[in-house]
């Protein structure tokens, strides 16, 4: 084992102005304390490390004596390697080095600047708990363990090849977790190629089995949801610096669930679920169907409405396909502007933009009023399912092109392609459409409609591979 050398540490960290070297001489023995000033608690270091070392009357100052009899920090450890010492310094811990012995101790003294626990804006609820995950992994773990006081809760540290040494942790309930999923995730993470910074998005991409616009790995900003998913037998992945916790496996049906579903009246929730399903079908299928009908299949439209459609398009110089794509493009611009701007401004921009653009597009003859109405209906419907928005947008555009080229046969072909694509997706070894299409009875009580509260949060993967037959 190579001795820990102060000179080498100083060389490696030579241009880092944040690193502080505090020299203490006691009883003719020199002790060096190394720490990163901005991410560690200097006052705490003075109290639990420097002061005891200065005041000690011990004659023999070896690492065991310093760790066991002098330093009063709560979490300490003996360092074996130089790399470990550097890692601890960069993580905000203090390293106590006795140069004459070429050995050291680390003391946990980190103190980061961090955000307070807040309500996650994307998963706000009317009735449920408000707290959301933050960027600090220890806070996030504490929020989870506060809810799951179970000895079977396992929190595994995942070692990844990352130059920034990001801490990644995996949580699961030992007795409920699907072993197949766990093995899949562990294997994927172990074989992860080296990257600069690990983010939740990188891990999400790593776990995806096929390129798709649909999320096959779930995410949540709320500890209660993460806890509920662990209860069902899923795995949660925490990444330091990300206020989002990944959950796997993740199924298509979960896109239709909202955090409020588990706190509001069951019947109200199921009515809302139905509304979301209708919204999904409107947002994906209505625009291609509309285009197929107004460009190929006039006989399927009632006569009076055909006349109205023809009159409303009479002043539009472009083909209907161009008109529809143009309106969709305008809407995407508006949406993006609304999302990127600060919330208060963004909302006004969206409303004013939609009103002005819609009205002027009709008046200038760029679009017919009925097309604007259909595009608006489709766009608003897609807001009901924010988690699946990307997939809806992409597939709706694909279906529009098929319908424009082939009419209803094109619509049917793209309809089949859409469902084939969804059926072909997998999430950590499970079919993405699970439990839809399974022949065996399943324990999942939250399919299209929410089941009884007492049946929820039960493990759903007990039978492993049998579930997907």
């Amino acid at each position: 084992m190579a001795p820990i050398s102060l000179a080498r540490i100083q060389k490696i960290l030579q241009d880092n102005e944040d690193i502080t070297y505090r020299k203490i001489v006691n009883n003719e023995e020199t002790i060096i304390i190394i720490f990163a000033g901005n991410i560690s608690d200097a006052h705490y270091i003075s109290e639990v490390i420097i002061k005891p070392l200065v005041e000690t009357k011990e004659k023999k100052l070896d690492v065991e004596t310093i760790q066991n009899s002098i330093i009063t920090a709560s979490n300490t450890g003996i360092l074996q390697k130089e790399e470990e010492a550097i890692l601890h310094i960069l993580q905000g811990n203090a390293v106590v080095l006795v140069p004459s012995l070429s050995s050291g101790i680390f003391c946990e003294v980190k103190q980061y600047k961090k955000r307070a626990v807040e309500t996650p804006p994307a998963e706000a609820v009317l009735k449920g708990p408000r707290e959301g995950f933050t960027e600090d992994i220890s806070d996030n773990i504490s929020m989870l363990t506060k809810r799951v006081k179970d000895s079977r809760l396992k929190l595994e540290k995942v070692h990844l090849e990352d130059t920034c040494n990001t801490l990644v942790m995996m949580a699961y309930l030992e007795d409920r977790v699907c072993k197949k999923t766990l093995a899949y995730i562990q294997e994927k993470l172990q074989n992860m190629p080296p990257v600069f910074v690990i983010t939740a998005a990188k891990i999400e991409e790593l776990l995806e089995e096929k390129p798709t616009a649909f999320d096959t790995i779930g995410y949540t900003e709320k500890p209660d949801i993460a806890a509920a998913r662990l209860g069902e037998g899923r795995v949660a992945i925490f990444v330091d610096g990300t206020p989002i916790v990944l959950t796997a496996p993740y199924f298509f049906l979960e896109n239709f669930q909202s955090p409020d579903d588990y706190y509001l009246n069951r019947y109200t929730v199921n009515a809302l679920r139905l509304l979301r399903w209708i919204g999904f079908f409107i947002s994906v299928f209505v625009l291609p169907l509309y285009l197929a009908l107004i460009t190929y299949h006039f006989s399927l439209i009632p006569t009076v409405f055909v006349f109205r459609l023809a009159v409303s398009r009479a002043g539009v110089p472009f083909p209907a396909i161009l008109e529809v794509l143009l309106m969709m493009f305008f809407f995407q611009i508006l949406r993006e502007a609304g999302v990127r701007l600060p919330q208060s401004v963004g909302q006004s921009i969206s409303i004013v933009g939609a009103l002005i653009l819609g009205d002027t597009a009709i008046n200038s003859g760029l679009a017919s009023s009925i097309t604007v109405l259909v595009v608006a209906l489709v766009s608003i419907s897609s807001f009901l399912l924010p988690k699946v928005y990307g997939g809806i947008w992409l597939w709706s555009d694909i279906m529009i092109l098929f319908s424009a080229f082939l009419g209803l046969p094109g619509f049917y072909i793209s309809f089949i392609l859409f469902w084939s694509h969804l059926s072909s997706l997998r999430s950590c070894g499970y079919p993405y459409l699970f439990p839809l299409g399974t022949l065996k009875s399943y324990r999942y009580r939250d399919v299209i409609f929410k089941g009884e509260e007492m049946d929820m949060y039960k493990p759903i993967f007990h039978r492993g591979e049998e579930d997907e037959k």
Partner: protein, 372 residues
């Protein structure tokens, strides 16, 4: 890789196999035909007139609007006439919104068999428009503005679906008429219409049915006879019958049919004697009386018998009237051909014993007995 190749090949096959009938057409770049009329010239050429909807951007007020256009053309064939008509049309004509196909009485007398082919087989023309015969000047009919609807085709379509008419006068669709052409004798009854009213107040009126045999007009059934005809063919759902007042012969009572059902039994006793029974069962109620009426059991029985007698007589008379002309109004020839094909010949009607059995049940209010 192999699967992908098969999938893409299937997709391409579908693209070319399923898109033969229609091509991309913007909805505002089409003239929507709402009514098609077929007449015949003195030289026997088909003369086609259509009413169409045209959407356009008006210069006045820069607004979009639509108007009604009438096109007229002749040709060697109907297809030829359609092509000729397009020579003066701003956009291609689309027949998918056509709800009514009108043949003039003159065309019906000439025979419509020459004009049906394109309506039967062209993929851009639908098979479900109603088919009617127009009695009168078709040019005037198409150039008349009706107050009830801007478009004559829409007006006519709604008129034929009007519940009061639809329940006792059968509306034939083109596909149903084409089915009649396939059965023995090829006899069909098609609704007749005409135009009535003072100038500026014209209305379309349904006027019984026109009897066509082998696509040629051979007779007409006025309203009352058309009603009996439909009743005996089990195509009468409800309607009215008016008979003389049981006590005062100069006054009338109107009976409302609540339910009607007719069963046909054909008895093949021998080749010389075929008996056809039309068993009619009617449930009626008293609709109106012009003179006071004490509706006791005896009176009910009298009214029932009177109506039974009236329907029986009218039904049997109607059969004999057309049997004499060798016109098979009730498709009896088809029934004979199916069961005893060798017994069927042109003189079969002289050997048919046609009987109409009517059973009328009159329902009354349990409390109201006196109609004074």
């Amino acid at each position: 890789m192999k699967n992908k190749f098969i999938s893409i090949s299937l997709l391409l096959i579908l693209i070319f196999a399923l898109t033969g009938c229609f091509s991309y057409q913007d909805i505002n770049k089409v003239l929507f035909v709402t009514l098609v009329t077929v007449d015949v010239t003195d030289t026997g050429e088909p003369m086609m007139r259509v009413e169409a909807f045209h959407a356009y951007r008006s210069k006045k007020g820069q607004g979009e609007t639509g108007n009604r256009l009438v096109f007229e053309s002749t040709g060697e064939t109907i297809f030829d006439a359609i092509r000729n008509m397009n020579q003066s049309a701003i956009y291609k004509m689309d027949y998918t919104q056509n709800k009514v196909l009108v043949f003039t009485e003159k065309a019906a007398e000439y025979g419509i068999h020459k004009f049906l082919d394109i309506f039967m087989r062209d993929q851009e023309i639908l098979l479900y428009p109603s088919i009617v015969i127009y009695r009168g000047d078709i040019h005037e009919f198409l150039h008349t503005s009706f107050k009830q609807e801007d478009f004559t085709g829409t007006y006519l379509n709604h008129l034929l679906k009007n519940k009061v008419i639809a329940t006792h006068l059968k509306r034939n669709q083109l596909n149903q008429y084409l089915n009649y052409r396939e059965i023995e004798d090829q006899v069909a009854a098609i609704t007749m219409i005409t135009m009535e009213g003072e100038p500026g107040e014209e209305k379309i009126v349904v006027q019984g049915s026109c009897i066509l045999k082998e696509d040629k007009k051979v007779g007409t059934l006025e309203d009352e006879k058309a009603k009996i005809f439909n009743l005996l063919n089990n195509q009468f759902k409800n309607g009215l019958f008016t008979i003389s007042h049981p006590n005062k012969k100069e006054e009338h009572i109107t009976l409302q049919v609540l339910k009607a059902k007719t069963k046909t039994n054909v008895h093949f006793e021998s080749e010389e004697s075929i008996s056809v029974e039309k068993n009619v069962h009617l449930r009626i109620s008293l609709g109106e009386t012009q003179a006071s009426l004490e509706l006791d059991q005896k009176m009910i029985e009298t009214i029932q018998k009177e109506l039974e007698k009236s329907i029986k007589k009218q039904g049997e008379d109607l059969f004999h009237q057309y049997a004499e002309k060798k016109i098979d109004l009730f498709q009896i020839g088809e029934a004979i051909c199916r069961k005893k094909p060798s017994w069927y010949d042109e003189d079969v009607f002289s050997r048919i014993h046609f009987v109409v059995n009517v059973k009328v049940d009159m329902t009354t209010s349990s409390q109201t007995r006196g109609y004074r």
